[in-house]
């Protein structure tokens, strides 16, 4: 995992995550692979693609595929909201956008506050999770985007 390891003041290692919401649950996506965050825009449907692929968008002259993170994680498709964002991720040189319900902030979580999960999380598939991070008394599920996108980790 490409975490932005930096020694904190107390010598702890930590990583930064973009905190996103889907339905009522909060998730974290490692900031190391986030290229850009854009508003929802016109998406061109691609016939014959997987059900979770919503289509392709024009990202400053590049054609980038966009998927619904909700559908991919086995959640129900939500209604289009004003808070919807597309997070553009860059993985092994390829770009892909994932649609989330809301993007809140960038959070820093020390590694020692991340717990591995073995049981089923509320809705999302546990295989897609790196672990659960504790943040100010709340829990945030940290997503393993390599697993989510089905890319072999290098």
């Amino acid at each position: 995992m490409d975490r932005a390891y930096k020694p904190g003041e107390d010598g702890k290692t930590f990583a930064q995550y973009v905190k996103v919401r889907m339905d009522k649950e909060w998730f974290g996506i490692s900031i190391a692979m986030v290229e850009n965050i854009v508003r929802l825009q016109r998406i061109t449907r691609v016939p014959g693609s997987e059900f979770y692929i919503k289509g392709v968008i024009n990202l400053r002259g590049k054609v980038v595929p966009v998927m619904s993170l909700r559908l991919k994680m086995g959640m129900e498709e939500g209604e289009e909201q004003r808070t919807n964002r597309i997070i553009i991720l860059k993985i092994d040189g390829d770009e892909i956008g994932v649609i989330v319900d809301e993007v809140r902030e960038v959070v820093t979580i020390p590694d020692e506050d991340v717990e591995k999960v073995y049981s089923e999380s509320s809705q999302a598939n546990a295989a897609y999770l790196l672990g659960v991070g504790k943040l100010n008394g709340n829990l945030i599920s940290l997503l393993d985007m390599y697993e989510v996108l089905g890319v072999k980790q290098q």
Partner: protein
């Protein structure tokens, strides 16, 4: 010396020379006495040796040196070209190729010194020395043909006599001809100038300057000579003209008429002071004598020319021409035939290409702005857009052309390969190639070599029958393999055809059942095409014996996937007992295409214009159903319909009884009618990749960005037929 910066150039040029050598040695085997071929080989080998030496690749230099020795003996006629010799030479080329590959990968030639090959090469030389002793005798007795040393002697008889002729010819010519300036025709203007100069105490000299043969920058030397002369006098006439000399369009000498008050010796010394000047001669111009002399010279020049003409080699021709009048020399020099080229890094071209793409997109958005604001847009604005459009189109075309290279660079190695296969498989075969000058995008050409090689090997090994079977079937003993390339609309088609056995469909079925790929029941119902498609599956080989030529089951599936990765496709047609044809269809360009924009179920799509023949409006009641498929009958053809709404999973926006808008698309000799809802018009689009996160759809070949920023998908009409 740090030579690393020249490594790339070295590798490029070495490859070129090797390719050239391959081709020429093939020619040499066909016609061992063609002097042009031999000279060409010699030149290429010599350059290669020089380059390798400069770069410090000792092994490569040694090997080329020994090869060059052989070529040299062949050129001198001391060795006769034999099949064994060609074999060894080819092995040498392979070894050299290996060196180059090593250098390309590791910047080092490797430490294989190929001693065995060098010995083999030297054996030919040793043999030639024995011959060489006899050879002079045969010339001395002037009975070239009758000499017992057969072939070597016969050639020997030719070359030296020609050489002798040329040598005889030259001194003769030189005794008059060293003062070539005497051949200059002095016009009236110059005569006037000379007369005027005489009044001012200036003497007119005719001077001929000879530059050393080894000189590389003749024009620069000539320039220095002129400068030296202009310092102490005035050149009033020069042959060849000053312009020609600057452009290096002269042999190794030039002549001037020169006015000066200095004595001749001083002028000549000044000229000889310039380095790489072999000689300079001159004399006082005597106007009346000059003309008489000219006549005489011409006659003697013609005489020597005829004398040495009997030894009919290019060498003697050149020399006699050099000894002839100046006009002839000029003809020989002329403008160089080969165009001057610049090697450009492909990445730079790619970035240029991307810029052109951006330009086209920006042009498209201008066009769309213009069309949405009809009320406000002025005539001048539209004119400017049209101008911009024509500029971007021609810019695009010229950038594309830069990327286009003839497939020649790939196919030239095939005749050699077929020759080797012919020996290895012990089958007689001949390769016929056409359309080597067909051009394709550089990236495609680089990738297409391997698939073609597979197909040719396949034809040679599986396709062609053994000599006995061919005789039984009444076919010529020598099998034929054809490699034809041609352009067809927006595609380039490459066909690999043989007149061999054809594909035995039953044998393929049996093999597939044996391998468990299909069940016997399936086999019953399969069409011939389906069976042939089995051949393109991984690890499927019908060769009864695995040879090292083909039959390891890594062939056709690799061919197919490679060609598909180039957005191309491959088809097979075969007739048992008569032969097989593999047809490869590749897109001409990969980046920018002309398309027809259509609307299907409210969505915009682009369809490549290259595959569309006509656009028809068909009433619904003319659509017939044949074997469960919708067809239309159009101008004598039954054309199956493809409803895009169904293929793309959308609902048509048109009323069910409205006329159908049908695009008639053609692939090879098959037609299909593609039904769309609405047509927007023709548009030049930039193909964008959609990335690997979207699974490959057969129907969709890419995406593009429209003028208004919307993304439209590109449909592959070929996939629908």
């Amino acid at each position: 010396m740090d030579v690393s910066q020249y490594l790339e150039i070295f590798i490029d040029e070495a490859k070129e020379h090797l390719e050239n050598l391959n081709t020429q040695i093939m020619n040499l085997e066909q016609d061992g006495e063609n002097m042009d071929t031999i000279n060409e080989i010699f030149r290429a080998a010599h350059s290669l040796k020089g380059m390798a030496g400069t770069m410090g690749f000792k092994n490569m230099q040694t090997l080329t040196h020994d090869m060059e020795n052989v070529f040299s003996e062949v050129r001198n006629g001391n060795v006769k070209v034999s099949s064994e010799m060609v074999d060894v030479l080819f092995q040498c080329l392979d070894a050299l190729d290996e060196y180059v590959t090593n250098i390309q990968q590791t910047a080092d030639e490797g430490d294989n010194d190929n001693a065995a090959l060098i010995k083999a090469v030297n054996d030919f030389l040793a043999a030639s020395e024995n011959d060489g002793e006899k050879a002079p005798q045969s010339t001395a007795s002037s009975q070239a043909g009758g000499s017992p040393t057969a072939g070597a002697g016969a050639e020997e008889g030719n070359a030296p006599s020609a050489d002798g002729g040329a040598q005889n010819g030259n001194p003769n010519g030189d005794s008059n001809g060293k003062h070539k300036w005497k051949e200059i025709k002095i016009g009236n203007v110059e005569k006037g100038a000379i007369a005027d100069a005489a009044k001012e105490g200036l003497q007119a000299y005719g001077i001929s300057v000879y530059i050393q043969e080894s000189c590389l920058l003749k024009a620069a030397r000539a320039f220095l000579v002129f400068r030296a002369m202009e310092e102490i006098g005035e050149v009033i006439l020069s042959v060849p003209s000053v312009q020609d000399i600057e452009d290096e369009r002269f042999d190794k000498d030039f002549s001037v008429i020169y006015l000066t008050e200095e004595p001749l010796n001083k002028v000549l010394d000044a000229i000889k002071n310039v380095s790489e000047i072999e000689d300079a001669v001159g004399d006082v111009v005597n106007l009346s004598e000059g003309e008489a002399k000219e006549e005489g010279d011409k006659a003697s020049g013609a005489g020597t020319g005829a004398g040495s003409g009997s030894g009919d080699t290019s060498a003697s021709k050149e020399k006699s021409q050099a000894g002839n009048a100046k006009q002839d020399t000029k003809k020989v020099m002329g403008k160089p035939v080969v165009n001057r080229t610049v090697r450009v890094d492909i990445e730079k071209l790619d970035s240029l290409m991307n810029l052109v793409s951006e330009l086209i997109i920006s042009k498209n958005s201008l066009v769309s702005v213009a069309s949405t604001e009809i009320g406000t847009s002025s005539l001048a604005f539209n004119e400017q857009i049209e101008y911009l459009e024509s500029v971007t189109t021609s810019l695009h075309e010229s950038v594309m052309k830069v990327r286009m290279v003839p497939i020649e660079s790939v196919v030239t190695k095939f005749p050699r390969m077929i020759r080797d296969l012919s020996k290895k498989l012990d089958k007689k075969m001949e390769l016929y190639m056409t359309g080597e000058d067909t051009e394709l995008d550089r990236t495609v050409v680089d990738e297409i070599g391997d698939p073609l090689m597979h197909l040719l090997r396949n034809s040679a090994d599986h396709g062609l029958e053994s000599a006995e079977v061919r005789a039984q079937r009444g076919k010529p003993e020598v099998g034929s393999i054809f490699l034809d390339a041609y352009q067809d609309g927006n595609n380039v088609v490459i066909e690999v055809k043989d007149d061999g056995n054809g594909i035995d469909v039953e044998a393929v079925k049996a093999k597939a059942i044996e391998k468990g790929k299909i069940t016997p029941e399936q086999a019953e119902t399969m069409t011939e095409k389906e069976v042939i498609d089995l051949l393109f599956q991984p690890s499927f080989s019908t060769a009864k014996q695995v040879s090292d030529v083909s039959g390891r089951g890594v062939g056709l599936d690799v061919v197919k996937s490679k060609i598909e990765s180039l957005s191309g496709e491959v088809e097979v047609s075969t007739k048992l007992g008569e032969g097989t044809t593999f047809t490869i269809r590749l897109p001409l360009t990969l980046a920018i295409i002309q398309t027809l924009m259509v609307i299907v179920g409210g969505e915009k799509y682009a369809i490549s214009l290259g595959s569309i023949q006509t656009i028809e409006s068909i009433p619904v009641d003319e659509v017939k159903t044949v074997q469960g498929r919708e067809v239309i009958y159009l101008r004598g053809n039954v054309i199956p319909l493809v409803r895009l709404t169904k293929e793309l999973g959308v609902e048509s926006m048109n009323a069910p009884d409205a006329d159908l808008l049908v695009l008639i698309a053609k692939k090879g000799d098959r037609l299909a009618g593609i039904v769309v809802d609405e047509m927007i018009g023709q548009m030049e689009i930039v193909i964008k990749s959609m990335g690997k996160f979207i699974g490959k759809s057969k129907l969709i070949s890419g995406a593009t960005i429209l003028g208004n920023g919307e993304v439209a998908l590109i449909l592959d009409a070929n996939a629908m037929i």
